[in-house]
C-alpha cells in the first residue's frame, strides 16, 4: 500500500475542502477501497475520511425515501419503512456481500464500488480501466462473470452493485455536492458506458461527493422484488440479477420497471421489456413474450453466452414472483 495522509474532517464542508486537491480520495465504509489500496489498484496520496461528517439518516416523506450517503447497508436493509415501501432495496442489500461487510459498507460507497473484473484487480495484467490504453485481456480471456451488455472493445467489466440494480428499477436520483455546488442526477444517467474511456465510470466531477439517494414512493415500489442468481447460495457476486417494480390493476400491467445486474457494464434498465409489458394482461403469455427481449443487443464472449438465456429466465421468474 502506498503511503497516504489521513484527514478526518468533522463536517461536510471541511471534507469537500480537504478533497479539493490532487490525489485525494474519499473513504466511506472502506470495504472496497481498502482492498484496492492493498492490491495497489489505487494509490491516493490523501484519504478524506467521511466517518465524522454524519450523513447517516434514513428518512421517508411524501416524496419518498431518502438515504443519506453514509447510512450503513445493514441499517438500510433492516429499516421497517424501507422493507415495506421499497422491498427490492432491502432484498438487494441483504443479498450483498456478508453481514460484516454490510455493517461497514455505505449507500454512497456501494454505488461507487469498482468492478470485480479479475484483470482490473490484478496489477500484473493490462487493463484499460486501471491503465488507459494498456489493453483488455478479459475480452479474449476469463470473461465468464463479465458483461454481455454495454461493453466496448476497450472494456466489458460488469458493474458489481446489487443495490444499484434495485435503485435503477426504482427510478432513484443521486444527490451530489462538490466545489461547484449541489445537483441531482437520475441513477439511469449517473453511470457511463465504457466506450473509449472505461476509466471514467460516472458523471461525477473531481471533488464531488454523493450526499444522498432519493427514491420515489408508489405502488410499484411497494411491490418490488430482487432476484439474484449466483454460483454460491450466499456471499457471492451476481451472475445475473433482476429488480422489478410492478403494479397490476384489474389484471392489467399498469406500471412495470425492470433492471438487470451481472450482465451490464452499468446497472441495466430494460426499457424494451417494460414497453412490451405495459398495458398487457398480467400472465405467463405476456411475461414470456416480453422476457424474450431481455438480452436484445447482447454481445457475449466465448465464456458468457449463457447469461443471455439466464437473463431471460430471470426476468420471467421475477415477473412471476411479482404477480404471484
Amino acid at each position: 500500500m502506498q503511503a497516504f495522509q489521513l484527514t478526518r474532517p468533522a463536517s461536510l464542508a471541511d471534507a469537500l475542502a480537504a478533497a479539493n486537491s490532487d490525489g485525494a480520495r474519499f473513504i466511506a465504509g472502506g470495504t472496497d477501497l481498502m482492498q484496492l489500496l492493498k492490491d495497489k489498484v489505487e494509490a491516493p496520496s490523501r484519504l478524506v475520511d467521511l466517518e465524522r461528517v454524519g450523513l447517516t439518516r434514513i428518512s421517508t416523506g411524501p416524496k419518498g425515501l431518502r438515504l443519506e450517503a453514509m447510512a450503513r447497508m445493514s441499517d438500510v436493509a433492516a429499516h421497517p419503512e424501507v422493507r415495506a415501501g421499497w422491498p427490492a432495496i432491502a432484498q438487494a442489500l441483504e443479498a450483498s456481500a456478508s453481514p460484516q461487510v454490510r455493517n461497514m459498507g455505505t449507500i454512497g460507497g456501494n454505488l461507487l464500488q469498482r468492478t470485480r473484473c479479475g484483470y482490473f484487480r490484478d496489477t500484473g495484467f493490462a487493463c484499460n480501466k486501471r491503465e488507459p490504453g494498456s489493453g483488455c485481456p478479459a475480452i479474449a480471456g476469463e470473461s465468464r462473470m463479465l458483461a454481455i451488455l454495454g461493453g466496448s472493445d476497450r472494456c466489458i467489466a460488469t458493474h458489481a452493485s446489487d443495490l444499484a440494480v434495485a435503485l435503477t428499477a426504482l427510478d432513484a436520483v443521486v444527490e451530489l455536492r462538490g466545489p461547484g455546488g449541489t445537483r441531482e442526477v437520475p441513477l439511469t444517467e449517473f453511470y457511463r458506458l465504457p466506450a473509449e474511456t472505461p476509466e471514467v465510470e460516472t458523471i461525477m466531477r473531481p471533488g464531488e461527493l454523493i450526499t444522498a439517494v432519493s427514491v420515489p414512493a408508489d405502488a410499484a415500489a411497494r411491490n418490488s422484488h430482487y432476484l439474484k442468481l449466483r454460483d454460491r447460495a450466499s456471499f457471492e457476486f451476481a451472475l445475473v440479477s433482476v429488480a422489478v417494480a410492478l403494479e397490476v390493476q384489474d389484471g392489467t400491467l399498469r406500471t412495470v420497471r425492470l433492471a438487470a445486474g451481472g450482465v451490464g457494464t452499468r446497472p441495466w434498465r430494460l426499457p424494451e421489456v417494460e414497453a412490451a409489458l405495459r398495458g398487457q394482461a398480467a400472465g405467463d403469455a405476456a411475461f414470456r413474450q416480453a422476457a424474450g427481449h431481455a438480452s436484445d443487443g447482447a454481445h457475449p464472449t466465448r465464456q458468457n453466452g449463457f447469461k443471455q438465456i439466464l437473463l431471460q429466465r430471470a426476468v420471467l421468474r421475477s415477473l412471476q414472483n411479482a404477480t404471484a
Binding site: A3, T31, M34, L37, P99, Q100, M104, S234
Partner: protein, 199 residues
C-alpha cells in the same frame, strides 16, 4: 493463586509485551529481508498517535496511517487472537466488534477506530466465564484446526444479538461471511443454535 497457562495466554501475550515467552531459541531463525506486512516505513513524525479502546482498556499506539485494525491488534497490541486469513474481507477470520457490531478488522483502518469500543475474542468472556458461544463451540466441537474460530465466535455472538438465529437456514445465511476451510460448519451451526437458545 498461580495463573494456569493456557494456549490463549501463550499466544496472546499482553499489551506491554509477551508475558510468557516461548521457550525456543531464535538462533536458527533468519529474519525476512522484506519489510513486515505493516510496512513501518514512514518516518516517526508521520505516524499517528492514537488512543484505541480495546476490550475495555485504553491502548496508546503510534501507527503508520495505513495500519489496519487487524495489524494494530496483532502486531502492536499483542492481541493475536484475531486472525489474519485473506486480508481482503473474504474469509471473516479477522471479525471483531466495533461499537457492538461485527466488522472486518482487515478492511478497517485503525486510525478510524478512535473513540469507538473495539471487542476482540480476548474480551468476549466475562472474566473466567466463557461467553455462551465460546462454551457452545467447545461443547459441539465447532472447530478442527481452529484458525477461523475466533472470527466464527465473534460473528456468531453478534448474529444472536442481531436476532438472526431463528433457524439453521437463517444461521447459515448470516454466517456466510465466515469461511471454515476444515468444514466444521455443521457443528458451528449447532453451537450457535444452542447458544441462541440458552441466551
Amino acid at each position: 493463586m498461580a495463573p494456569s497457562v493456557t494456549r490463549r495466554i501463550v499466544l496472546g501475550g499482553t499489551v506491554t509485551g509477551l508475558a510468557i515467552r516461548p521457550g525456543y531459541s531464535y538462533a536458527d531463525y533468519t529474519a525476512p529481508a522484506a519489510a513486515p506486512a505493516t510496512s513501518p516505513t514512514v518516518p516517526a513524525e508521520d505516524r499517528l498517535d492514537l488512543a484505541l479502546q480495546v476490550n475495555g482498556r485504553r491502548l496508546e499506539l503510534a501507527l503508520d496511517p495505513r495500519t489496519s485494525l487487524l495489524d494494530a491488534l496483532r502486531e502492536h497490541a499483542g492481541l493475536t487472537g484475531t486472525k489474519k486469513g485473506c486480508d481482503r474481507g473474504a474469509c471473516g477470520a479477522c471479525t471483531v466488534h466495533v461499537d457492538g457490531r461485527r466488522v472486518l478488522s482487515c478492511l478497517t483502518l485503525a486510525a478510524r477506530c478512535e473513540g469507538k469500543e473495539v471487542t476482540t475474542i480476548e474480551g468476549l468472556a466475562a472474566g473466567s466465564a466463557l461467553h455462551p458461544v465460546q462454551a457452545a463451540f467447545l461443547h459441539h466441537d465447532g472447530l478442527q484446526c481452529g484458525y477461523c474460530t475466533p472470527g466464527q465466535i465473534m460473528s456468531g455472538a453478534a448474529l444472536i444479538k442481531e436476532g438472526h438465529a431463528g433457524s439453521d437456514a437463517e444461521i447459515r445465511e448470516w454466517m456466510s461471511g465466515n469461511i471454515c476451510r476444515c468444514g466444521a460448519y455443521p457443528n458451528i451451526v449447532a453451537a450457535i443454535r444452542d447458544a441462541a437458545r440458552e441466551g
